[in-house]
Symmetry: C2
Subunit: 348 residues, 2 copies
């Protein structure tokens, strides 16, 4: 924030996020008007010239790490989606899975506990065409990308050694993307990650207090962005990031990979629309999306309170020392205001 | 990572961080050689011309929000450090503190819990001179900056309404700094932030397993960067970020603000040295530092296992969807390798 802008008068709040059990400082005094909150580094600026040497483009398949599957399955040069191994994987599918359960290892070496870097790290090439972005696809095609995620999760779920699968997308350099060609990533992890445990604990706390699932209760007109037959998109009440959007299934469902073809197309349409709205209102911002689902093995008691959702975070502000130190976020835009800006965007 | 670099052969590990209870993927296959891991956007590139209009410069005091104190206290034009109110505060010192304890409020409105945005947000101007960076100060002067932090914490601690004080510094635009003039920030919070609770729980777990404080046990030759009479600097065994450094007091101490003048100068010297080493080996990278201390009110049982430290994180890689989704980090540089690169940097 430069010293020349004058702060608006609406007073801030500290809101509690019931899904992640964290506090968010909603601080309008830090921002300009919500509608002025555009990205200063649009993602598209880094992807204007199609790169003839891009390994993800059709015709360059041999420059990639091995393919896991493609869609349509029998396609040759006319594939639409490819799921491949990551050439620089953060985890190795060839490492030995750790033999003992993690808790036992921790007790044996509490200050220096390490396990092998076993796991899966795959890339989903979402289109053969370098110049096409995810929301440029038709809603059915976005649905097919989501079904490719599902298919790969089901494969990984068959391995007992994988406990959690994280699907995510980085779009634009400041959201982490090193490849400009439209893609997402899938990581199969040998343990349940800390934020997933925190999320489950927090949703359990809400359930214990109310007898209800906190995401089943999250729909509200003032924070609504858009909705379809099977999903609704909201700016969550205690959004950590300005213009953060969650797409939530209406039905209480634990796992993303329970989605069927009809719902995948429905979700594809809503995801496409939300990405178009963000792009239009915020100048094509870099973003991440994460599929927030449940661990592969889930006890029947957890099933009452875990509910998957798709979290979309545009990159409009920088994480600084306060957020790294405290785990609290500072959001300069009231979620109700952000929802209104997105609701009003006409992308038909 | 571009597709033209070939990955090295050392295999990865998944390491457990006993202070934050999180898992870190140490993934050398993602990186080049550790010594090549330089910042591509040195912070200094954004601060070459002294800005005549900078409100933090000597002579521009009247462009700032009100002063809280200055050092030396009776100085007029020749001040060395000023602690001022933040002009665009994320929390408001004029708001009413929330009357009830937070747990009660949560139970009353579990999905829509909000409290007033009460709290303190201050700025510490670390030098009157626009062109001077923190490590350009003498070790005694860096020590005085730390004593200014201490003095302000002690003031906030006298207010019963403040539960935790976060001191942090953002250096360089990609670490969040919007002002180039050397400064740090202090926020007084009406609640204990989530990451602080997680840290305390995790250190308690270690203590319950071993009877020891995990930071008292953290010193180790292979991860040592440098040490002084009262402090040691290490790259932690399960560093979340490449070249992350922790400066830890040798004596088991709960609160940063217990530091005395002699130790502050000692710490000032070590902080200056570590920042110089990072700058030299990594091309003046943007960084954050956070003072990780205990809540102001601490039960006597917690005192056994909480131990403050100063966490320094250079910004060399981008947080992507994987980290946001899981709370796990991917660190491409083995902590032992990073420590060696920093240990060997000659900054005398
Ligand atoms: N020829 C080829 N065949 C197969 N795969 C290829 C390939 N060429 C490149 N790749 C892989 O394609 C992936 C592209 O992924 P992204 O651009 O989304 O981000 P990346 O994983 O690099 O890092 C971002 O996301 C991660 C995870 O969130 C963060 O840790 C990191 O800092 C951030 O920059 C890379 O993982 C790369 O290894
Ligand atoms: N004349 C004046 N008088 C008094 N104060 C003045 C002033 N002019 C400016 N200021 C204040 O000085 C501070 C400078 O702080 P930094 O440059 O470290 O980062 P900032 O707080 O802007 O945001 C970074 O840090 C925060 C917290 O980590 C992140 O939320 C954010 O995204 C990131 O960019 C700002 O907070 C600003 O409000």
């Amino acid at each position: 924030m430069s010293s020349t802008e004058s702060p608006p008068s609406r007073t801030g709040e500290i809101r509690h996020d019931a899904v992640f059990d964290r506090w968010v400082l909603i601080s309008p005094a830090r921002s300009r008007r919500p509608s002025d909150f555009k990205s200063r580094s649009p993602a598209s600026s880094s992807n204007t010239n199609p790169k003839p040497s891009c390994a993800f483009c059709a015709g360059h398949e041999r420059e990639c790490a091995p393919e896991i599957f493609r869609l349509p399955p029998a396609s040759t040069t006319d594939w639409k989606i490819r799921v491949i191994e990551n050439l620089y994987p953060a985890l190795s599918r060839d490492a030995e899975p750790s033999p003992s359960p993690v808790d036992g290892l921790l007790a044996a070496a509490p200050g220096r506990c390490a396990v092998t870097g076993f796991g899966f790290h795959d890339v989903v090439i979402e289109t053969p065409d370098h110049s096409v972005r995810l929301p440029d696809l038709s809603l059915a095609e976005v649905g097919e990308v989501l079904l490719a995620h599902k298919q790969r999760i089901l494969q990984l779920a068959r391995l007992g050694s994988i406990k959690y699968v994280q699907v995510f997308k980085n779009y634009g350099a400041s959201a982490g993307a090193s490849m400009a060609h439209s893609h997402s990533q899938i990581m199969g992890l040998p343990l349940v990650p800390p934020l997933v445990s925190t999320r489950l604990d927090s949703m359990k706390k809400f359930y214990d207090m109310t007898g209800k699932c906190c995401l089943c209760e999250a729909w509200s007109e003032d924070i609504l962005v858009s909705e379809t037959a099977h999903f609704f998109a909201i700016v969550p009440f205690a959004a950590s990031y300005p213009f953060e959007v969650w797409i939530v299934p209406r039905d209480h469902t634990n796992h993303f990979h329970e989605i069927d073809n009809e719902k995948a197309v429905d979700l594809g349409g809503l995801l496409k629309l939300v990405l178009q709205k963000l792009s239009k209102q915020l100048n094509d911002p870099p973003y991440n999306f994460m599929i927030q689902t449940a661990p592969l093995a889930l006890s029947s008691s957890c099933a009452h309170y875990t509910h998957w959702f798709l979290q979309i975070i545009p990159h409009l502000s920088v994480i600084g020392g306060f957020e790294i130190g405290t785990g609290c976020f500072i959001n300069p835009v009231f979620p109700e205001d952000a929802a209104m800006v997105l609701r009003e965007a006409d992308c038909s």
